[in-house]
């Protein structure tokens, strides 16, 4: 039995396994399937300023080794989260990180200010893959200056651990990572979904109502691994690795590349208790190689 505890900017997680925003609801939906006390933490569904209905159906398309989604951040807004959801989840025996999303800098700040007040939330994950409606809908996370602006604005008002979730739909992930780090982020989580598309050749139409959507699942793992590795070499901040993790072996690959912890996302749809299996698998790997602590393998890829 190794020591699986990891530390991300001052937050200790009992093990490196967490679940990704948008794939685990607010935790409650998984209580029938698993004991949340067996994983390090959960990144809950994105919270925006106001209620959002999300995009029209269809919102998903299965792809080879993955899926596309264009859910559109459907959620009931921060006030509902604070009043109705937080009281129900605050005492879960696992770390709860709130994913913060928005369409304007003001909206991100509004949400961050309100989440800052929640005693049992040790950190937020800033989702900068959202389109900036004031800049023609370009995602905040694709332009260094916009990524810097939103991180700086939230940093001013959010006093706890600020993690920023990076979009992979950029030319240089290291440039964005460095800018975000310089703007005051405490940690980086990457990657978010890759922009993709699916077509139905019988109807001759796109499968998704929004035409394009975000690709997730095993198909994106090689891209995610590459970006984690590049960012780890470029930036000193702790990294949470995300992208197609289906089992412990995948999780360990991310840790070797430089991730201190991982998020399991799409895999939860196929096996709702997979996150526990991954934690157990990491333990078995460490025991097999007689490694005492999970932290020891982080960034030890031999190149």
């Amino acid at each position: 039995m190794a020591d699986l505890k990891v530390n991300i900017a001052g937050i200790t997680f009992r093990n490196p396994v967490t679940t990704a925003s948008g794939t685990f609801g607010y935790g409650e939906e998984f209580l029938d399937f698993m004991d949340l006390g067996k994983i390090g933490g959960i990144f809950v569904k994105a919270v925006t300023g106001k209620n959002r209905d999300g995009n029209a159906y269809p919102r998903m398309a299965e792809t080879a080794s993955g899926m596309l989604n264009s859910v559109g951040l459907q959620n009931k807004g921060v006030d509902y989260f604070v009043k109705e959801i937080y009281p129900k989840i605050r005492d879960f025996d696992t770390r709860i990180i709130v994913n913060v999303s928005g369409s304007t800098i003001e909206e991100y700040v509004e949400v961050a200010v309100k989440i800052n007040e929640l005693e049992k939330i040790p950190g937020i994950e800033l989702n900068i893959s959202c389109p900036n409606v004031k800049q023609g809908g370009m995602a905040f996370g694709t332009v260094p200056a916009m990524a810097a602006e939103v991180t700086t604005a939230v940093r001013k008002v959010y006093k706890k651990v600020l993690m920023v979730k990076l979009s992979p739909n950029v030319t240089s992930i290291t440039e964005i990572a460095k800018t975000v780090a310089d703007s005051g982020a405490d940690a980086l989580t990457l990657i978010n979904t890759l922009l993709g598309m699916a077509i139905d050749s019988e109807t001759r139409r796109p499968v998704l109502s929004t035409v394009t959507g975000g690709l997730s699942g095993p198909a994106i793992k090689p891209v995610a691994l590459r970006m984690v590795w590049q960012v780890h070499k470029a930036v000193k901040l702790p990294i949470v690795g995300i992208g197609g993790i289906m089992n412990a072996k995948d999780a360990i690959e991310f840790m070797l590349a430089g991730a201190t912890a991982v998020q399991v996302g799409t895999a939860n749809f196929i096996d709702p208790s997979v996150s526990i299996k991954i934690a157990e698998g990491i333990d078995a790997y460490l025991d097999k190689y007689k490694i005492k602590t999970a932290g020891e393998i982080v960034g030890t890829l031999q190149t």
Binding site: D32, V71, F269, D271, P272
Partner: protein, 258 residues
């Protein structure tokens, strides 16, 4: 009351071809089956299929509580369902279940069940449950031609069965809404339940609405998780977007604004 969700390995006890494109899988639970309600569905993991990544949802077609088996009625549509059609007795199949809500079981009948194509899947379980409650049941099934109809004898055990085929090879010719039992001035049913292609369900809903009869339909939206977290399967309702896998798949047509 819906039972807690679980993930379990079932064993195939029977795989029966009903038509060249439809088959019945009888699955044995590893232990005692939890309480299941008509309208609910399961999420099946298709293994060893490179082009099938996500689970596949199927309505619960029939339940045998004493034998602890449940049946799925499957239409072959793609690689995943084709793989399932090749399952043999003794093969393992992993299910997440029971999922979704259920049809309202009316105590006072008579009630009318209308099914089209593979939409009949949840209606047998519903018919059997209503029968057990001593509710008088009538069933109207529609298909393109005679060969698209199956398990009619099973439905006959629950109540009177009416049939339509588009080519007239069996029963009355036309769509389900063309059947003579729906043309009467007064329809004496306390509820109409319907499952089938969307245009069919919408036509039936119009008929129900015209006669001031409550109508429940079962929707089939594409889904990733099947248990409420991915938010992909939503359908618009008068109460905003609702998840077909949690607030559905059964909806009262008033809720849908049909």
């Amino acid at each position: 009351m819906s039972s807690a969700k679980r993930i379990e390995d079932f064993r195939v006890t029977r795989n029966v071809a009903l038509t060249p494109r439809h088959f019945l899988l009888e699955l044995l639970a590893p232990g005692k089956l939890p309480g299941l309600l008509p309208g609910q569905f399961v999420q099946v993991l298709v293994e060893n299929s490179t082009s099938t990544f996500l689970r596949r949802p199927f309505s619960i077609h029939r339940v045998n509580e004493t034998e602890n088996t449940l049946d799925l009625l499957v239409q072959i549509k793609g690689e995943g369902t084709r793989k399932l059609s090749r399952l043999r007795e003794g093969d393992r199949l992993n299910l997440i279940y029971p999922l979704g809500n259920s049809f309202s079981l009316q105590k006072n009948g008579p009630v009318l069940l209308i099914g089209g194509g593979c939409g009949v899947a949840p209606l047998l379980f519903l018919a059997q449950s209503l029968c057990t409650n001593d509710t008088k049941v009538a069933i109207l099934i529609g298909g393109r031609k005679k060969h698209d109809l199956f398990e009619i004898e099973e439905y006959r055990k629950c109540g009177e069965v009416f049939i339509t085929t588009e080519d007239g090879s069996e029963g009355e010719k036309g769509l389900v809404t063309d059947h003579s039992i729906l043309q009467k001035e007064k329809l004496a049913y306390s509820m109409i339940y319907c499952c089938g292609p969307d245009p069919m369900m919408e036509s039936v809903a119009s008929v129900a609405h015209m006669h001031n009869i409550e109508c429940e339909v079962s929707l089939e939206n594409t889904m990733a998780c099947g248990f409420g977290v991915c938010l992909c399967c939503i359908t618009p309702t008068i109460h905003g977007n609702q998840r077909v896998c949690v607030e559905g798949p059964v909806f009262n047509t008033k809720e849908l604004g049909w």
